[in-house]
């Protein structure tokens, strides 16, 4: 069973991604911000195969989430994290490789191509 975790503060984007990934056979877990994402990961019996992460979110943003994963939950660092952002190329947080970036507005073909690449 393949599962995905979508961490995105916008309700409509979150629900659309859920519908989209479910149509491709994923079990989808949702979180509104980085903090909820960490809580969700802590409760899961099986780790998701992929994480879709928004950068700009309240409470804990994408950059802070990545930092937490690296420092507090290294066991999760093996999960590929695709970063969804409307930011321009020069504005990505440091340390993020461009191959993990999905620019908003998302292109579905690009999204699935990257998911396939990293699964």
């Amino acid at each position: 069973m393949k599962s995905a975790l979508v961490i995105e503060d916008d309700f409509d984007i979150r629900m659309t991604l859920k519908e989209l990934l479910e149509s491709e056979g994923f079990v989808v877990h949702l979180a509104e911000n980085g903090q909820e994402g960490l809580t969700c990961l802590a409760k899961l019996n099986e780790m998701p195969k992929i994480i879709l992460l928004d950068l700009y979110m309240p409470v804990m943003d994408g950059a802070a989430f990545l930092k937490e994963i690296k420092s507090q939950f290294p066991i999760l660092s093996g999960i590929p994290i695709l970063i969804m952002t409307a930011a321009a190329v020069g504005e990505y947080p440091a340390g993020i490789s461009p191959e993990y970036i999905l620019k908003k507005p998302l292109e579905i073909d690009e999204l699935f191509s990257k998911i396939e690449q990293f699964l």
């Binding site: 916008d10 700009y56 309240p58 409307a86 908003k104």
Partner: protein, 385 residues
């Protein structure tokens, strides 16, 4: 180290006199002082270079003070000036009747200096008018610098705004694109299960909602431009305040329910005002939107009543609140209570709302404590009829 790295007041732009042969400097000081021009006697180049770190008006430099070493250092300092700065130097030559001497003196400075040569002996009037002209030009240079700084600040704010606006505008576009591409994907697979009447209806509503969201963002941006250009207008008509607020709350019901936020409205007596209904609705929408956004899911309370012949609306949330130092800042353009990317939105709502309220002769203020929620107080004058 640059010349005049600090901001200047007019009174700082003095004439600096470097004339080591004792009497000349004192004489020049007195002459200028008698003409209402402030100057300072500078005893040495060492003192001059230190003094040049603060704003100064012009330099009266006697030829006999110049040494090779001092000249080198002076031309270096002058070459390091920022683009707006061109310190006027009035060079007092020792031998006014020698053309060749004068020419060589000017050549010493090359292209690095803004030099006016006064050949001795010169009259008092000549000295005073030359210094006045130099100081006048120097004032203009400082005015240009302030303009440049203001422009830089404005551009920086605008750049940040564009970056935030780009993010905000792309959010509804992302949903529209994902939904339409997803439907297209199903069509290509020959799967038409997503096109049941119910699902098509949901799809249409979602596209409509996102389009409205986009349109509102653009309207906000246009409103700000109009406000800045003094072109925001209001079209007042008689309004029932209580009904207006109730209608706005009704429009938010679906959102309150989906986010499980309790909203209570205590509607007081009938309040009739002469206001632009569309614009006042805009304000109430903004206040409720903020209460939801920053309210942490906790109850929102609205109350409307008459106080001293003013229609008053209280919008209270129990969310994250705002610190004392941020309380006025959030009413400014592009400001939000939470900096950076942590909360979505253009940060224009309160700025626009306050402008609208003040155009109606009203007041919009806020009381808040960090961690304990915020209370927004809207006051509008009632109609006298």
């Amino acid at each position: 180290m640059t010349v005049e790295s600090q901001s200047s007041q007019n009174s700082d732009l003095n004439a600096l006199i470097l004339a080591p042969s004792g009497q000349d400097g004192k004489l020049a000081f007195v002459v200028l002082d008698n003409s209402g021009i402030k100057s300072e006697i500078i005893p040495s180049f060492e003192t001059l270079f230190e003094r040049m770190n603060r704003p100064c008006g012009c330099l009266l430099l006697a030829e006999e003070a110049i040494t090779e070493q001092a000249l080198k250092l002076l031309t270096l300092r002058l070459s390091e000036q920022e683009t707006w700065s061109d310190l006027p130097i009035i060079l007092l030559s020792s031998d006014g009747k020698n053309f060749e001497h004068s020419r060589r003196l000017i050549e010493l400075f090359g292209n690095t200096a803004n030099i006016t040569l006064l050949e001795r002996p010169f009259s008092v009037i000549t000295l005073v008018s030359t210094v006045k002209v130099a100081l006048r030009a120097r004032q203009k240079q400082f005015q240009v610098r302030e303009l440049l700084q203001t422009m830089k600040r404005t551009l920086s704010i605008r750049d940040e705004f564009l970056s935030i606006a780009s993010h905000e505008l792309k959010t509804p576009i992302t949903t529209i694109k994902l939904q339409t591409q997803m439907k297209n994907r199903f069509i290509k697979k020959g799967d038409f299960s997503v096109f049941t009447p119910g699902k098509v209806s949901e799809f249409i509503e979602l596209i409509d909602k996102q389009s409205t969201r986009l349109s509102r963002l653009v309207d906000d941006m246009l409103d700000v431009t109009k406000i800045e250009n003094g072109k925001l207008t209001i079209r007042p008509d008689f309004c029932d305040f209580g009904m207006l607020v109730a209608q706005v709350i009704e429009a938010f019901q679906a959102e309150f329910e989906s986010k499980k936020i309790q909203c209570d409205y205590e509607q007081g007596e009938k309040l009739i005002g002469f206001w632009d209904k569309y614009r006042i609705e805009q304000v109430v929408v903004n206040l409720i939107t903020n209460a939801i956004k920053y309210g942490n899911g906790k109850p929102v309370l609205l109350r409307s009543f008459n106080q001293n012949e003013k229609a008053v609306l209280i919008v209270k949330d129990h969310g994250i609140g705002v610190s004392a130092k941020d309380k006025e800042r959030i009413f400014q353009r592009f400001e939000r209570a939470v900096s950076g990317g942590n909360i979505s939105g253009l940060g224009l709502g309160l700025f626009i709302s306050r402008q609208i309220v003040e155009m109606h002769g009203g007041i919009l203020k806020m009381e808040s404590e960090l961690g304990h929620g915020s209370t927004f107080i809207l006051e509008l004058p009632l109609s006298k009829e």
